[in-house]
Amino acid sequence: MISLVRYLAADVFRGQRFLAPLLVFLGVMGMLFAYDPGPQLSAYSGSAALIYPICAWLAVVVATSEDVVRREITVVSAGGWSRVLSAVAVTTVLFGLGVAVVATVWAVVASPRPYTFGEFLAGLGAHGVCALLGAGVGLLFARPVFDAIGRTVLAVFAVVVFTYPLGRWTPLGWVLDVLGHNQFSLAVLWAGVCGAVLVSGAVVLGVRRV
């Protein structure tokens, strides 16, 4: 699994399609933290909301980095679709966690307010959960569940856009709600469980689809 994740990550870096979501992430983070972003955990709500679509985008990039034919070779080399799709999910989550770490550290460095270690960990957890949710949404509609990239982009965009107005009806809303109140609660943990279910469901659906 580790060698497969290393290969997929190397392929994503070579392909450079990850640069677009990364640059959008860095640009918006720069804007969010240009001035005093407010109390410690509240300051994380903007970056947590941003990580969700960024990680959905990254998930699509990771899932479609190999073209169909090369993916077939990888599947045969690795010994089956389930291994490859699991590795795609792990790679996506690792990219998401990397983005979550950057977002969490960014606030600590850019904000004029001091952060306790507990607040840092709470922020890291919240960002990680939002990354997981985004990764789940991206993988759920990427190849091999949806073969055409156009359908993937439309579906992911639609789900991401409709998530925000639903507010506290969605796991993302639970996280943003508690952060917005400068708090941390078990709701974040439950949202993380939902994210893990989404990612696992995407792998299972992909394996059944092929």
């Binding site: 070579r14 690795a78 092929v210």
Partner: protein
């Protein structure tokens, strides 16, 4: 429908059928046991690539059972031409994925070019040699779809030598492996479904056409496997639309 690993070093396809969605059956109740070198022959559209993908584990059969060994190497019909990764990096990664050491396949096939440049910059033949090199990392079974595509005569001859003694399922139009067991997938005929049919009489008169069944503007043409390419070309030249070939 089922798939399992551990069938010695060959592959067993037992009563395998395949259709894509609700489309026509590409394969019906096919049973094939591969041990040693087996060459698949058959006209275009007879399901060779589909069968190879099922044997390799890329596709699941719609029904039937497949038993294959743990280590399978696969070369697709067309290796992608836009790979950004270098050949050396790709082969190193594939070796790690398989936990297998690199072999001298590239040297034996006469690879010429940069191993560190992106594979997109390689010629078609050299990219094919990289595809073969990753497949030869497998220890048990090779599944090769038209592996001679793009190879120069020396490399093609060397590939034949490399396949001797291996267990492999290979599709081959050009008769490179004369001594191998041959399996003709066409099963006696190829069925071409046409729509917007014009010049039906001309099609009927072509050599190899066994029957023509006309239904409105559509037609089903049954043709001998060795003449299917010519009939297909003539149908297209006449302006017919080809709905399926199987």
């Amino acid at each position: 429908m089922g798939t399992a690993c551990g069938y010695l070093d060959g592959v067993l396809l037992d009563q395998v059928s395949k259709r894509y969605g609700r489309g026509p059956w590409v394969l019906r109740d096919l049973t094939l046991e591969v041990s040693g070198l087996v060459v698949l022959t058959g006209a275009n559209g007879t399901g060779k690539s589909t069968l190879l993908k099922i044997a390799a584990g890329v596709l699941k059969p719609s029904s039937g059972r497949v038993v294959r060994p743990a280590s399978v190497g696969y070369v697709p019909e067309r290796f992608p031409s836009d790979v950004k990764m270098s050949a050396s990096s790709y082969l190193a990664h594939m070796g790690r994925v398989r936990r297998a050491a690199a072999k001298d396949v590239l040297e034996r096939l006469g690879f010429v070019g940069s191993l560190t440049a992106p594979m997109a910059e390689l010629s078609k033949g050299n990219a094919q040699k990289v595809a073969l090199a990753q497949a030869f990392l497998a220890t048990d079974l090779l599944v090769l779809d038209e592996p001679w595509t793009g190879l120069d005569p020396e490399a093609a001859a060397e590939l034949c030598v490399m396949l001797e003694g291996r267990t492999a399922l290979v599709s081959d139009h050009e008769g490179h492996l004369a001594s191998a067991t041959r399996v003709d997938l066409a099963g006696g005929h190829v069925t071409i479904e046409l729509s917007r049919v014009v010049g039906l009489d001309a099609l009927e008169a072509l050599e190899g056409v066994q029957s023509v069944l006309s239904r409105g503007s559509s037609a089903r043409v049954v043709v001998a496997p060795d003449r299917s390419d010519q009939v297909l070309a003539e149908a297209l030249r006449l302006g017919c639309s080809v709905r399926s070939v199987r």
